[in-house]
Symmetry: none
Subunit: 218 residues, 2 copies
DNA sequence: CCTCCACCAGCAGGATCCGCACCGTGCCCC
DNA sequence: GGGGCACGGTGCGGATCCTGCTGGTGGAGG
């Protein structure tokens, strides 16, 4: 399960992040409104409502607009009733008030995720040129032919396919597919290499020198 | 919207009932476990966990078993963390601790109902390729042949069959069939193994390496 | 009391990934 | 036009991760 942690306090974020990771979740961290809105898709968002560059309630509204099945748990130090009501009205699934215990947070996360499992899935199909990607099924066809990709290959392709025709920086791909930015210089290239091989036409994934890669759109 | 109010304290029940009615809800009242379980179907349950003739947690479990899309808000005077966690684990959608304000309760009711609106309607019959599942009867046939599954095997299959052709992550299966995400890595695999054996054709349940499993659609 | 089911290890075989080294090529500057 | 350099591509071996079995144990239900 992938959790997006939106929290500006670095210490709180670090503590939460490690606690959640220990419990088996995959955690991506965003410290600002901008970062939160440009993060990769996930299953659940832990959203601190007090952010430096804007209001967390806007993030909540926008995320909910994008996906009705995304789980959102608002987190805040403000425990006043007015805020609690506001948070829920915005479309958050749940609300926890600092300070809270990890045990309770864990229970609430599970409750929200359990519910999300029963919501209608948004089956997302991405098409770019001859490439068709079924994100949910994790299957890919090129010009009608089904190709079998490994996990990393698929993740890399997905990172590119999210913005067809756009040059995706290497760092971005690393973040999407690996969750980190530190890795051997060549790791991405290697997987792009095998990806090109499996897609058949190597020109489908174009190299943008000095930047990254681009998935051919037309 | 129809709300079932399970509350043994007559004064609290009367006050809540009239407040909710004023807000436009249709309210049915039950004061005991027996009454709660034999009440007419509704959209949401306000469930006091302390009841004279039994434990409210049993009611919660039973109601949830009957319908995964029913909204349940647990209400209790016991505000301790242990109880909060327990309530959420049982399958309640939310939890309010007495004393609470009507404004907050209203907001939580709306949040739960909003979510329920997005919930996929429960299908009685699910078909995926050669597999036919009767959810209510908990029976399965493969290519006309009836197969007998154990509880967990059925739950695992159901988790997969809810989205045929979609790669279901391991922890989502855990969430659906076990209710939690913490469990031994092998538990799912073992049950998938026996499931494959009983279904006859092992290829019906495809492995998506590094992710989970996928029920063959076509 | 007995049977069946669920769960927990341990194990072995693969698939996958990664780091390294080397090669090819485009770009820039002279 | 030529040379150097930085960047990207590729092949390979080992380490790692993942998965599917099998057997044994505890417990719930009949």
């Amino acid at each position: 399960m992938r959790i997006l942690l939106v929290e500006d306090d670095r210490r709180v974020a670090a503590a939460l992040s490690s606690a959640l990771t220990r419990r088996g979740y995959e955690v991506e961290h965003a410290a600002t409104v901008a970062a939160a809105l440009s993060a990769a898709p996930c299953d659940l968002v832990l959203l601190d409502l007090t952010l430096p560059d804007g209001d967390g309630t806007d993030v909540c509204r926008e995320l909910r607009r994008r996906s009705s099945q995304l789980g959102i748990i608002a987190v805040t130090a403000r425990g006043e009733e007015r805020d609690r009501v506001l948070g829920l009205r915005l479309g958050a699934d749940d609300y926890v008030v600092k300070p809270f215990s990890m045990v309770e947070l864990q229970a609430r996360i599970e409750a929200v995720l359990r519910r999300a499992a029963h919501t209608a899935p948004e089956r997302h199909l991405i098409e770019a040129g001859a490439v068709r990607i079924d994100v949910a099924a994790r299957t890919v066809t090129v010009a009608g032919r089904t190709v079998t990709l490994t996990r990393k290959e698929f993740d890399v392709l997905l990172s590119l396919a999210r913005q067809p025709g756009v040059a995706v920086p290497r760092d971005r791909i690393l973040l999407d597919a690996w969750g980190t930015t530190w890795a051997d210089r060549h790791t991405v290239e290697v997987h792009v290499g095998s990806l090109r091989g499996k897609l058949g036409d190597a020109r489908l994934v174009e190299t943008v020198r000095g930047v990254g890669y681009r998935l051919r759109d037309a």
